[in-house]
Symmetry: C2
Subunit: 333 residues, 2 copies
């Protein structure tokens, strides 16, 4: 029997999650049955989408139930196995949840190669954020060489990869981020052509200055006023890719929608939503391409690893909503 700490949902938050949202519990896991693995979790992925899973509403995944272990994607080490595909010592990714140890039947579990990239990178560029950036930009956004691409939350896990993919594909890339330090990183370290600091004033005015002819793709991670600014400055035939709306995730009422949505008509533009899980059978294609770009140095991985284990899960998650992280936010267990 293995003892494990776990973070469970204690109550549904009405705004930003608080200490009352979570319960840190200790459980004993049973012995393995046939075809199972016991894993020890090393890194837990923190994702804006987690906030949505806390609401009791219909969405692309069912909500996390009260009293259930919080859902998360992790990097873990196999410490016991009765499963033919996994050996003790394997490093794997899987939806094991916010826990120290977990038992799995292997469904959705994949081996990861620590020689190719470190654990946190498998939750970032080579994980769901990388897949999201890749399919959102190339499939949903239909990126072409020469496009002008605008990315919001550009210093975040998905945005930082989306912008670098666009650069690798020959686009002109503008990132929107909060504060001069993130903006400096975008242009000086990640190769963005321009960066807009949304805390430094009127985003539309700044956008018009750097993209006077409008943008072909807007990759939206934030919603709100920044989405409206982008809609006001599209090029004809533009594609708005809806990846997220982090500005709204902690609002108690649906926030106002994009009042400039009729720009889609004026510019003959399209706004499309997507869910990365629909592309699961093409993850290998994206993973191979991203790994190649990483190896060539055309894409740089940025991870923000918080130490301290499960007790810091709640405060670490909230860093996403205050913009405190740069790159992929990961909790080390």
């Amino acid at each position: 029997m293995t003892k494990t700490q776990q973070v469970r949902l204690a109550e549904r938050p009405t705004g930003l999650p608080t200490a009352d949202t979570w319960n840190l519990t200790t459980t004993e896991l049973p012995d393995l049955g046939p075809g199972e693995i016991l894993v020890k979790v090393n890194f837990i992925s923190l994702d804006p989408a987690m906030r949505g899973w806390l609401n009791d509403v219909r969405s692309y995944l069912p909500p996390v139930g009260i009293g259930e272990v919080m859902r998360s994607l992790d990097i873990a080490t196999v410490v016991e196995s009765t499963h033919p595909d996994f050996a003790v010592g394997d490093t794997v990714s899987g939806t094991f949840g916010v826990t120290e140890y977990a038992i799995s039947n292997g469904r959705g579990v994949q081996r990861v190669d620590l020689n190719a990239a470190a654990g946190p990178t498998w939750l970032g560029v080579l994980g769901i954020p990388g897949m999201t950036a890749y399919f959102g930009l190339l499939d949903v956004g239909k990126l072409s060489e020469g496009d002008v691409v605008l990315v919001s939350a550009a210093a975040g896990a998905v945005g930082s990869v989306a912008g670098q993919i666009a650069k690798a594909k020959g686009a002109t890339v503008i990132g929107i981020a909060g504060g001069p330090e993130k903006c400096r990183m975008l242009t000086e370290e990640l190769g963005f052509d321009a960066a807009i600091d949304y805390r430094a004033g009127n985003v539309l005015k700044q956008l018009r200055a750097v993209a006077p002819d409008g943008v072909d793709i807007y990759f939206d991670n934030v919603g709100g006023e920044i989405l409206d600014a982008a809609l006001a400055n599209l090029r004809r035939g533009a594609r708005v890719v809806l990846c997220g709306a982090i500005s709204a995730y902690n609002e108690q009422k649906p926030p106002p929608g994009p009042s400039r949505y009729m720009s889609l008509l004026v510019f003959r533009a399209t706004m499309a939503g997507f869910v990365v899980f629909d592309y699961a059978d093409r993850y290998p294609e994206a993973g191979a391409q991203l790994a190649q770009w990483l190896a060539e140095g055309r894409i740089k991985s940025r991870e923000h690893v918080v130490e301290g284990g499960l007790a810091r899960f709640g405060e670490t998650l909230n860093m996403l909503f205050t913009g405190a992280n740069t790159g992929k936010l990961v909790l080390a267990v």
Copy 2:
């Protein structure tokens, strides 16, 4: 020299146009130069888009200038010609404006066949509204047989044709209109499968009752709360076609956008705007198909012809915004 009455833009309205918006003037037209025609206007098309042309903002067409003759599409008779392509007595359509007589160099002017359909029908099913419905539904909306199609302003010029095209193509069609009489017409005369009276209460609730599995296409002519209701009840992979937003055209501030826009993500859906003029080179294809459906009785033409000439232009235009018309609204000169 020909004397003509003309309706000119006197001042830009801030909400619904008023009597002060318009000036009824009398002008003498010069003699024809070479390659010109003099036409006598018989029917003037009234279109929701006209309201947008009165605002001094960047859009798909320049605004009508103060003091200029109001832009409109008309059906007219050629009464003098020095143009090789047009003979006296020809019936033509063209953007002659809100006027009794006009001189044209023939650009954009097309002969229409009154044996195939009466003048007002050439401004409705066989005119821009018909083209808008056709390309919006088939090209932008990518209609497939078996789709569930929702149309707003379904008793209007575009909506009534869009719904009938969808029926002719094997879709299930739900129309939204104001009042029991329009709803009755949709289901009993135009063959819609169901009609929702938006004046009779919660549109989303009514919609869920008639389309419990959601809709594949929402053809939006109105925006506002009805757009939000549709967004909340999409099917996976749905297409929202933005054709207009009549609920907002007389608002002085941009109205709130669709607060449910993130449904596009949940349902992997697309919202796309279009402008019918982009399809001008394919009007003959659409016109031939629509004329065939008309002849077969699969599409019925509904026109609302107001008599009384140019003096009634202002009040007739406003009928569009109060929902007083059924089918294509036309002013007889």
